[in-house]
């Protein structure tokens, strides 16, 4: 009896499952209606966009001419031998390698120091946070003046008897100048991330450390850092992704110059796409950047997650 009934059961339940499904759909159809505006926009501007981008990266594609010949991997091989692309990747790597640890360490310092004091805590937090909410175009413009040969930075350096360079017009100082400004603008944001992480650490741990006679330094390394892990991973990964795509600061402050010393990948993508209208070629470069970002994010997550096991 049971053996006979078994083969027919899945068939029957599939039919009844389908009926159940229809009943659910009929009851919950407004759900689809509610997500449809967002769904439509996300489909068009994310999913169709990314497929379209990959598609045109294999074509010679500009807006103006109708002829759009298929080129296979031509765009990619061209990018590999393009001097401008190579320089931009090098600069971007340097930028990421300097920026990501600097911002992480300084913002962590701000958060930890800010937590040590009682008076003026909110004031410090506000002051450190202001550069973060100022539009990057505005901060970039302000720093263009600060970096002028007779601007604010060199005036401050003069006070300590240092003769400052012509920051943005010197190939060896232009990229560091942009990096300093970016670090200045971003530490407030990550300070907030770390403050939230610090607030999650139970006070008991610190009390226990005190009882054991651990010093501040030791407490910091053996309690604060390990328990801030999630915030640290978040900061590191999101910073890396953002830093690889740096654009606005460079666009405002140096336009990639002098002598391509601040040319970044996103600047080159912009250059080919919107100044020379080679959309296919620019898309190929943007996919190469995507590949690099993907590789490093995956690597970081893997490294951090395997550390969890100790």
């Amino acid at each position: 009896m049971t053996t006979l009934a078994q083969p027919s059961q899945p068939v029957q339940s599939r039919a009844s499952r389908q009926r159940e499904l229809w009943k659910r759909v009929r009851k919950t159809w407004p759900g689809y209606l509610f997500i449809s505006p967002a769904g439509l926009l996300i489909t068009v501007f994310s999913y169709i966009a990314i497929i379209f981008s990959l598609y045109i990266s294999f074509y010679q594609y500009d807006i103006i001419s109708e002829a759009r010949p298929f080129e296979g991997l031509e765009n990619y091989t061209r990018a590999l031998s393009d001097k401008l692309v190579r320089i931009s990747f090098r600069n971007t790597f340097i930028y990421v390698i300097v920026i990501v640890p600097s911002i992480t360490i300084i913002s962590l310092l701000l958060a930890v120091l800010g937590n040590q004091v009682r008076r003026g805590r909110a004031l410090f937090r506000t002051v450190f946070f202001i550069p973060t909410i100022t539009p990057i175009v505005v901060t970039s413009m302000l720093w263009v003046w600060l970096y002028e040969p007779t601007g604010g930075i060199n005036k401050l350096l003069e006070l300590v008897n240092i003769e400052g360079p012509n920051w943005l017009f010197n190939p060896s100082t232009a990229l560091p100048a942009i990096m300093i400004m970016t670090i200045w603008g971003a530490v407030g944001y990550y300070m907030i991330i770390f403050l939230a992480g610090l607030a999650e650490i139970p006070e008991v741990f610190y009390e226990a450390a005190k009882v054991d006679g651990a010093g501040r330094w030791h407490t910091f390394w053996s309690i604060t850092i390990p328990l801030l892990r999630n915030s640290l991973i978040f900061a590191f990964v999101t910073l890396t992704i953002a830093a690889f795509q740096v654009f606005t600061q460079v666009f405002i402050m140096t336009q990639g110059g002098p002598m391509n010393s601040t040319q970044t990948v996103q600047m080159v993508v912009y250059h080919y796409a919107f100044q020379r209208f080679q959309m296919g070629y620019a898309s190929a470069i943007s996919w190469m950047l995507f590949g690099v970002i993907f590789f490093f994010s995956a690597l970081q997550l893997k490294l951090f997650i395997s550390r969890e096991l100790y």
């Binding site: 759900g31 967002a38 769904g39 807006i63 302000l142 005036k155 996103q266």
Partner: protein, 294 residues
């Protein structure tokens, strides 16, 4: 340090206690000194920005470093708003930010409510598809988004500027989290009273979600207000430029009118500072949340 302090001897102990207090004091002083130095390094560009924005051109060229304008003047603001066209840009920015704010809040909250509460088939998969777009770097979607907007005839239009900002995966995620934490009993009561899905969303859920909506709203506004690359690409007519693109234009001029730049920067930063003062807790709460979830 701790080891030497625990050494016995009663006379020694008092001395050690004094030493401990002294090191603690000096530690606090060092911390404050560091914090004040860092705070100064964060704030000094703004001091100059404010001071220089109230200087006349001649005052600026003779005394660019003084923090007290002599005499203070509003003429640079007048110049920035008229000759510098900041008035037009400001109006555009307010329009863009307001439209995106209202429409995105509606579209996101409707989708978030549906994902949190309406049990339609395929819900989990579709939600994952929305979340996945958070991973896409803007660098890759920029060109195709432009080409799509171009195909729809939206280049150099107001609609073209705002349309891609009408839905946000982050907003849907944030609001869905919030809706999930609202007790179901509240909706059940509404359902019994004969409310449909939309009635429940509009009358019960939306009012309850006010804190989350404010947090998201502040983020949408800040984002749209500082948005630069997209309007730069999609627009070609200065009459439609937002303040960010407008300010960047000052850079193109050979002889930059710095006082006007400072006045313009102050005008652009002003709404944000006000917003920050009013909604500080929401902003900080929102950032903290994104960090903790991530």
């Amino acid at each position: 340090m701790a080891r030497t302090l625990s050494s016995p001897g009663s006379g020694q102990r008092d001395q050690n206690r004094l030493l401990l207090i002294a090191t603690r004091r000096s530690f606090t002083i060092i911390v404050y000194a560091l914090l004040i130095a860092l705070a100064f390094s964060m704030i000094f560009p703004y001091l100059w920005m404010l001071a220089n924005s109230f200087k006349s051109r001649t005052d600026f060229f003779t005394n660019p470093y003084s923090v007290i304008p002599m005499p203070p003047t509003l003429s640079t603001y007048y110049d920035a708003l008229t000759i510098g066209r900041m008035g037009v840009y400001l109006g555009n920015s307010i329009l863009y930010a307001a439209v995106v704010l209202i429409v995105q809040l509606l579209i996101d909250s409707l989708a978030a409510y549906s994902f949190a509460r309406v049990d339609f088939p395929g819900r989990e998969t579709l939600f994952l598809a929305v979340l996945a777009t958070l991973m896409l770097p803007g660098s890759v979607t920029l060109i195709p988004t432009f080409l799509i907007a171009h195909g729809l005839g939206l280049t150099n239009t107001f609609t073209g500027v705002v349309l891609p900002g009408f839905a946000g995966a982050f907003g849907i995620f944030l609001l869905r989290q919030f809706f999930l934490n609202i007790p179901r009993e509240l909706e059940d009561a509404a359902r019994i009273d004969g409310s449909g899905f939309f009635g429940t969303y509009w009358r019960i859920m939306l009012p309850l979600a006010k804190p989350a909506m404010v947090t998201l709203g502040v983020f949408i506004f800040l984002n749209e207000w500082s948005s630069f690359v997209w309007p730069l690409i999609i627009l070609s007519d200065w009459k439609k430029y937002p303040v960010t693109v407008g300010i960047a234009l000052f850079r193109d001029v050979n002889q930059i009118n710095w006082p006007a730049v400072f006045a313009g920067s102050t005008i652009v930063s002003f709404p944000i500072v006000i917003l920050f003062v009013l909604a500080q807790e929401y902003i900080i709460g929102g950032i903290s949340l994104s960090g903790l979830k991530g």
